[in-house]
């Protein structure tokens, strides 16, 4: 057991942290947000230069061979800066599908494009009725001459409005809530029959609703097993949850720093409010939540590439539970300790509050993951 980052990891961390510190101030972010797609093309190009966009892909495929630890380093820094770019959508989600399910030809065609910043992807895993159940898929893909025809709706597709292509789950067999019969298909943004309705999300990012009305794709659009994609989808979702946990830790860290700064400077009753014991202990409770979350994000990162899907699921769900609860607790205290000013768009803290509240709702909230963990008999089991 070794908690020390390697030299490469340290270097990665330093460069991402510096990038965010230098280019993701409050006003920068507001500017990026107003741009097309709701993020910064320039930053995206910088990520490509730094090698972040190819980070988790195998070197043989044109990537840098990073693992969950490297992804977590990036995501934590991005959390600290409330980064807007579609890194999760392109690299972690869609990239994860490619890593685990695409064939060599697909990887050769797509990974270098992603790594170079020329291709942005999204992943349509949810549908209007599915809530957090990844297997709840009504969208259907029928085999037709030369490929597939896909019809259905995909909801809450993160950065689905700006993506060059979207990978969607679609049912090739079985009924709506069957675990078998689900395939993955790459749909180009300009495919006839695809309608995208983009919108901002509560936390200032973007998502889209997709309607696929008899969209035709070629045989090469199928990624992996046409009826057996669910294990890959679940694996990628778990990896993404681990990444979100790291992002949340970055947010929490910054929220604590901002709040501590406020406590040390805001004057009321002739003294800084941080001199009041009750507020001091609240700040301690926030700190405890941060450190417990940091521990669980590390744990999720360590287990996210575990080959045993149940062990992986337990660890990742446990981490998401911790993160979701800490998001409530830290968010509540951070706003409360700021008072009214924390409720305004003019202060940074509220933006973090909104982001961490929404992080809880991505890929399963506390209730969902607690139920999943409980169904797997929890973390403490009989000793061998």
């Amino acid at each position: 057991m070794d908690f020390d980052p390697s030299d490469e990891q340290r270097l990665l961390k330093e460069s991402v942290d510096r990038l965010v510190a230098d280019h993701y101030g409050f006003d920068d972010r507001r500017r990026y947000q107003a741009g097309p797609g709701g993020f910064s093309e320039a930053m995206w190009a910088r990520y490509a230069e730094l090698g972040l966009l190819g980070l988790p892909f195998a070197e043989a495929d044109g990537g840098f061979g990073g693992g969950p630890v490297e992804t977590a380093i990036v995501m934590e820094a991005f959390g600290r800066g409330l980064v807007l770019e579609p890194y999760l959508a392109t690299v972690v989600l869609a990239g994860g599908l490619l890593r685990h399910a695409a064939d060599a030809g697909q990887k050769a065609g797509l990974v270098p494009e992603i790594a170079a910043g020329r291709l942005r992807l999204a992943f349509g895993y949810a549908e209007p009725q599915s809530r957090y159940d990844l297997f709840d898929v009504e969208t259907r893909a029928e085999r037709v001459e030369g490929g597939w025809r896909i019809s259905g709706r995909k909801g809450l597709v993160l950065h689905g409005d700006s993506a060059d292509a979207v990978i969607v789950t679609a049912r090739t067999a079985g009924d709506r809530r069957d675990r078998a019969g689900i395939g993955l298909f790459l749909v180009r943004a300009d495919a006839p029959g695809l309608t995208r309705q983009g919108y901002p999300t509560q936390d200032g990012l973007r998502a889209a609703e997709l309607v696929l009305d008899g969209v035709r794709v070629g045989g090469e659009a199928l990624i992996g097993d046409p009826g057996g994609a669910l294990p890959v989808v679940e694996r990628v979702a778990d990896e993404a949850v681990a990444a979100l946990c790291a992002e949340a830790v970055g947010c929490f860290d910054e929220m604590n720093a901002i709040t501590l700064d406020y406590l040390k400077t805001r004057q009321q009753f002739g003294t800084t409010i941080g001199s009041f014991q009750v507020l001091q202990h609240r700040a301690v409770d926030m700190f405890v939540e941060l450190e417990q979350s940091r521990s669980m994000a590390l744990y999720a990162g360590m287990m996210a590439d575990d080959e045993d899907p149940q062990e992986r699921a337990r660890a990742v769900s446990a981490a998401k539970v911790q993160i979701g609860k800490s998001a409530r607790a830290i968010g509540r205290e951070a706003i409360q300790l700021h008072g009214g000013v924390g409720m305004t768009m003019e202060h940074r803290i509220g933006h973090y509050f909104k982001r961490v509240t929404m992080l809880d709702l991505l890929l399963g909230d506390v209730g969902h993951h607690l139920a999943r963990l409980a169904a797997l008999d929890g973390l403490v089991r009989e000793q061998a």
Binding site: P200, G340, T357, L361
Partner: protein, 400 residues
Amino acid sequence: MDLRFTDDELAFRDEVRAFCRTALPAGIRDKLVAGGSPSKDDMVRWTRILADRGWAVPHWPVEHGGTGWSPIKQYIFTEELAQTPAPAPLAFGVNMVGPVIYTFGSEAQKRRFLPRIVRLDDWWCQGFSEPGAGSDLASLRTRAVRDGEFYVVNGQKTWTTLAQHADWIFCLVRTDPAAKKQAGISFLLIDMRSPGITVRPIQTIDGGHEVNEVFLDEVRVPVENRVGEENRGWDYAKFLLGNERVTIARVGVSKERIRRIKALAAQQSVGGVRLLDRQDFREKLAAVEVELKALEMTQLRVLANEAKRETGKQDPASSILKIKGSEIQQATSELLLEVVGPYALPYQPREELDGRNEPPIGPDWASTIAPSYFNLRKVSIYGGSNEIQRSIIAKAILGL
């Protein structure tokens, strides 16, 4: 001791309920059911409907338009409004400055202002907080300097709710800079059309525009618009803040929200089961209902004792109403977030939705859930934060 409503009280409740259901314009009700806020026009329209029925200012003295109802009946009225749901009367006039005027104001002030509050001819807002005077309200720095028959007011107020609609603002201002904190403050009524007043909107994290900054730059206020004595304003402010207990717990609002949670949870399927049928969700909800019932009984205890107390002396239990009331409101908003699930994510401001033809993203009730969760953070901050409330209880009741 008989803790049930009397037959008379029950009949009264039914009368109010029936009135609200028929008299409230459907459009206003629908907006509130969907979690939205009433517009200025909605408020004026509804207030005048109530005024025509004689119910716009139930708790005021009868001579000024009040009803003479017992505290319990006033409570029933307020709760029925909330559960309709109908807009509550605009607090700044009806619950805040109105009672200050009829208790401490001059006869001229009463004649001039009270009837216009009753019919919402004047929209009032509150000028208490300042950027440097939040929890520590008495450290406020807005100055009023006497110049003949006028005060000249300079300073800045903040968190001024709905100032964008306001005709008048009641302000705490410092008239004696040499006196100790609370001692040099006066209570002024200021026309919002006065030269030198600027209102700047504050956008809040729910995307709404509810609060504002109000800048006062060489604003001239006639001395006749000072309520009561000079430098006694802190007393009137304390009186005003102490009057909140009838409504601060928001029991009716929370009841209405729990009904909404149940209705929506019955439509949501989670893991293949109706959310409302999941044991864990049912118990979580029931736990909040228990807290709310306890709060309601505490509120009724406070009200039942109201008549027996000296004016201005608070029932110890009343201090609980703010703390628990705000906690329960926030808890219901968390439950709603759990009910809506991932479709809380899209940001769709009400105004945009109302103005377009496309259907909303996700269920049509989903768009207000997250903003409401964000917005309700305020209830443990405003009106004296819950930390301030606890310190008050510790000192005033527990003697610590």
